[in-house]
């Protein structure tokens, strides 16, 4: 187990280097003079040259990248070009918010999504099945930001049950996490339903019935565990979607995570923040995928750790 985890961690490094270099290259190799943007339109030529020297923009991109990554390794993600605060410091405040929102959203998606999927599968071809399929498709077709706005409009502004935006006690997390996790809740329900239907038709479930088991035991003890395997992989994939979604949901709810932080940085081309965001998210997604794979190996005896390709 540990050997496998170490190997996976080592394998994550080239991936993170790859994505960071790619984004770094795209951001810096793009048209438009960055220093000009930072100083504003009336800056003189030598101001721009001096600024470029400060930011090290005059060196070849590869050198800048190596310098950037070297600092990043030591936890120094540089300072923001526009508000010149230390990026890492700002991030350390914001990351806990984004993570807690993400985990809560995944929590809703599992706690509500999986049981709904099970009910839909067990009541196959009945009314409940059609209702569940319809609503889960509805939920995953609605844009996350619009969903957020609608929750905000009804539950916060019109009914006043929950705060509309900002952050504070747990109540502030409910609406954002529900709208962030809505799409995942729908796909969890659908995956559970499809796989449970498949497993119910399999031979070993028929054997379980032929032994004299009650239908409920057959479903819970035999069918369910086998159908949860693909759902776990689904949760792994959905965590990276959640990280993406948080950018939007945090903007709707003015939630102080790294998501909303990224949007302003993008508009002003504040490279250090965008880069820091990419690195942090890549690490988080990489770690969660690893955790999900370990969980999968625990649940499914057929998976031998180590023999799985990296």
């Amino acid at each position: 187990m540990i050997k496998y985890t170490l190997r996976r961690l080592l394998l994550m490094i080239p991936v993170i280097l790859g994505i960071t270099f790619l984004v770094f290259f795209i951001l810096l190799a793009s048209p438009g003079n960055v220093a000009q943007m930072v100083l504003g339109p009336e800056a003189t030529a030598e101001d721009i040259a001096m600024k470029e020297h400060d930011l090290g923009l005059d060196q070849p991109i590869v050198v800048q990248y190596i310098k950037y990554m070297w600092n990043a390794l030591h936890g120094d993600f540089g300072t923001s070009w526009f508000q010149n605060f230390n990026v890492m410091e700002e991030f350390s405040h914001r990351i806990p918010y984004t993570l807690s929102l993400g985990f809560l959203a995944i929590g809703w998606a599992c706690v509500l999504g999986i049981p709904i999927g099970i009910i839909a599968a067990v009541r196959h071809n009945h009314m409940t099945d059609y209702v569940v399929t319809f609503f889960s498709l509805l939920l995953s077709s609605a844009p996350a930001f619009w969903l957020g706005m609608m929750y905000q409009l009804f539950f916060a502004q019109k009914l006043g049950w929950l705060p509309a935006s900002g952050v504070g006690s747990f109540k502030y997390y409910i609406l954002p996490s529900l709208s962030l996790g809505g799409g995942i809740l729908a796909s969890n329900a659908r995956t559970t339903r499809t796989w449970l239907l498949d497993v119910i038709r399999s031979d070993y479930v028929r054997t379980a019935r032929a032994k004299g088991n009650k239908e409920s035991t057959v479903i819970v003890k035999h069918a369910l565990r086998n159908s949860l395997l693909p759902v776990i992989t689904q949760i792994g994939v959905s965590f990276s979607i959640i990280m993406g979604g948080s950018v939007i949901t945090e903007t709707v709810y003015a939630f102080p995570g790294i998501g909303s932080f990224l949007i302003n940085a993008v508009k002003t081309k504040d490279i250090p923040i965008v880069m820091a965001c990419i690195v942090v998210v890549a690490v988080i997604v990489g770690l969660t995928n690893l955790v999900v794979d370990l969980l999968y190996a625990v649940v499914d005896p057929r998976v031998q750790l180590g023999s799985k390709k990296g």
């Binding site: 038709r201 070993y204 028929r206 032929a210 004299g212 565990r225 499914d300 057929r302």
Partner: protein, 327 residues
Amino acid sequence: MENLLEIKDLYVNYETDESVVHALNGFTLNVKKGETLGLVGETGAGKTTMCLSVLRLLPEGVSKVEGGSIQYDGKDVLSMNKSELRQMRGAQISMIFQDPMTSLNPVMRVGDQIKEVLSLHNPELSDKQKDERVDDILKLVGISPDRKDQFPHQFSGGMKQRVVIAMALVAEPQLLLADEPTTALDVTIQAQILALMKQLKEKFDSSMILITHDLGIVAEFCDSVAIVYAGEVIETGSIEQVFERTKNHPYTEGLFNCIPDLTSHAARLTPIPGYMADPTNLPTGCKFADRCGRCIDKCRQAAPEMVEVDPGHFVKCNQMEKGGSGL
């Protein structure tokens, strides 16, 4: 010996969105206590449907029992309620499925899957006693008990089928339904498994229906045989009577001729002409008429009745008379 299982005139259909499949059309079969009956038929003859009907495991919504009765040990299976059915399955009648690769729960230990049968049907046993029973049955089927904590994927095809047999026999059922237990296995492993099943059947003195498409297996492992074609039993009798090959149903005769048997030196096999009867639109009268060399008009109009050509040897053919060979 009175009959343990009596199936009389059973009709079962499958309704799909395109067509209705008539899987069983007046299926009649009796199994005596302690008897090993071989059930022979080709793909789509209704062999598996029969087993699933006896255990009432037919897929709901798609399948429908149109008529007929199934009597097990004097009780009417079709009118049993859920709890009676559950007591019957696994304890009175148990089933061995064809493909060992998919018949075991892949994420559950082998020992636990066998023990589950005991906890269902022998709740009075303590946990320790159940473990002992599991170890005994595993030894009996030739698997060392210390492998009981392993998972199905760690066993080969042959070993998996031994686990399935252990699971089917651990509650000592009276009737064992074996649906092509060795088709998916190699011939040397098949010999081991069939020898094992014969030995265990005698040990537990249970009756068995061995379903196969291989007449050779029936000749070597069964006491009596029933030949099935298009959802109907068209010939039944003891092994000696049927394999004597003098008073067979034309289809049985056709089967004998087209099997490349070890001892036959014929230059060419004589195949049965034509193709399987289509279960979605079965002909009136005898269903084998189109492929039968000796078909006469009567065969196409009137559905044949079972005729007793010899005591205990029945053939469903319009051209056979009671006691005589007729052909």
